[in-house]
Amino acid sequence: MEQIFRQWVSDHQNDAWTLARYLLKDRAEAEDATQEAFIKLWENRESIDALRVKAWLMRVTRNICIDRLRKRKPETPLDEVEPESTAGPLDALQQSALGHQLQSAVRELSEPFRSLVILRDIQQMSYEEVAGVTGLSLPQVKTYLHRARKQLKEYLVTLR
C-alpha cells in the first residue's frame, strides 16, 4: 500500500500543489494545505477508488484551501497575502508575457471560477471530474467556465 501511495504522491503532488498555490496565494500555507490533503489521502487509502484518486485529492485540497481562506482574518485582504512572485520557478524561463498575464488574471478570479479554470483549462481535467471536485452540476460547470473565461478576457483587455 505504501508503494501505491508513493505512486499517488508522484503522480498528483504537482497538481495539488498548483491548485493550493493559486487558491491560497501563499507559499507556506499552500505547502501545509497540500500536505494536509495527502495525509487525508493516506488515512483514507483503503476506501478510495484507485481510478478516482486525482479527483478525490483535488476535491480535498480545494476544500482545505477554502476552509483556510474562510479562517483568515477578515481585515487581511486576499490580494495582500501574496508576498512572493506570482510566478513559479519555471515560469521565468518557460513562459511568455501572455502566460504571466494569464496567471495573474486567474488569481484575480473569485471562487468557484478560479478553481474551474485551474482544474479544467490548466490541469486539463474532464468536465465530469471538475464537477466531482467542485460539487457543481455539469451544466453549472460549463456555464461558470464560460463566465470565468469572459472575466479573464475583460482582465486582459484592461492590460492592452
Binding site: 507559499r27 488515512e43 519555471l90 511568455s96 501572455l98
Partner: protein, 149 residues
C-alpha cells in the same frame, strides 16, 4: 507558448484563451514538500502507533506498550487521590468539632467574666457617687460667702 497574443476581438477568442491556458505549466511541488509527502506513511506509523490490523505484533505496538504502563499508573494514582481525599475530609470534620467545643468554652468564659466586671463596677462607682451627692444636697447654701466674692 505557441502564440504570444490572443485576438480578444475575434470570434474565436475563447478557443484561443483556452489554448493559451492549457500551455501554462503546472508548477512542480518544492523539494521540501515532496520530502514531507513521501514521509507521510512512515510518520503516520511512528506518530499514531499504526501497525497491520490483525497482526500479533499489534500487542507490541507502541500504543499498547504505553497503555500497559499508563493504565496501572492511572489506577494507582486514582486510588491514592481518593484515599487522600477521605483523610482530608476526616481531618476537616475533626477540626470543625474541636473549634465548636473551643468556641463554647470561650462563650461561657466571656459570660462569667462580664458578669463579674459589671458587679464590681456597680459597687465601686454607684455607691460613692450616690453618697457624695446626698451630702451635698443636705448642706445649706453658703449665701454670705457668695455675696462677699
Amino acid at each position: 507558448m505557441k502564440s504570444d497574443k490572443i485576438d480578444l476581438d475575434g470570434e474565436d477568442w475563447e478557443q484561443q484563451l483556452v489554448a493559451a491556458l492549457s500551455e501554462i505549466p503546472v508548477e512542480p511541488a518544492p523539494a521540501s514538500l515532496q520530502r514531507k509527502l513521501r514521509a507521510i506513511p512512515r510518520e503516520s506509523r511512528a506518530g499514531s502507533g499504526w501497525s497491520r490490523p490483525g497482526s500479533i505484533f499489534n500487542l507490541f505496538a507502541p500504543r499498547w506498550a504505553i497503555a500497559a504502563i499508563a493504565l496501572p499508573l492511572a489506577l494507582g494514582l486514582g486510588i491514592h487521590l481518593q484515599s487522600e481525599r477521605r483523610a482530608h475530609e476526616q481531618q476537616i470534620a475533626q477540626g470543625r468539632h474541636d473549634l465548636a467545643v473551643a468556641l463554647g468554652y470561650l462563650a461561657r468564659a466571656n459570660e462569667k467574666a462580664s458578669h463579674r466586671v459589671s458587679t464590681a463596677i456597680y459597687g465601686g462607682v454607684v455607691e460613692p457617687v450616690a453618697g457624695n451627692t446626698r451630702d451635698l444636697i443636705q448642706q445649706p447654701f453658703d449665701i454670705v460667702r457668695e455675696i462677699q466674692l
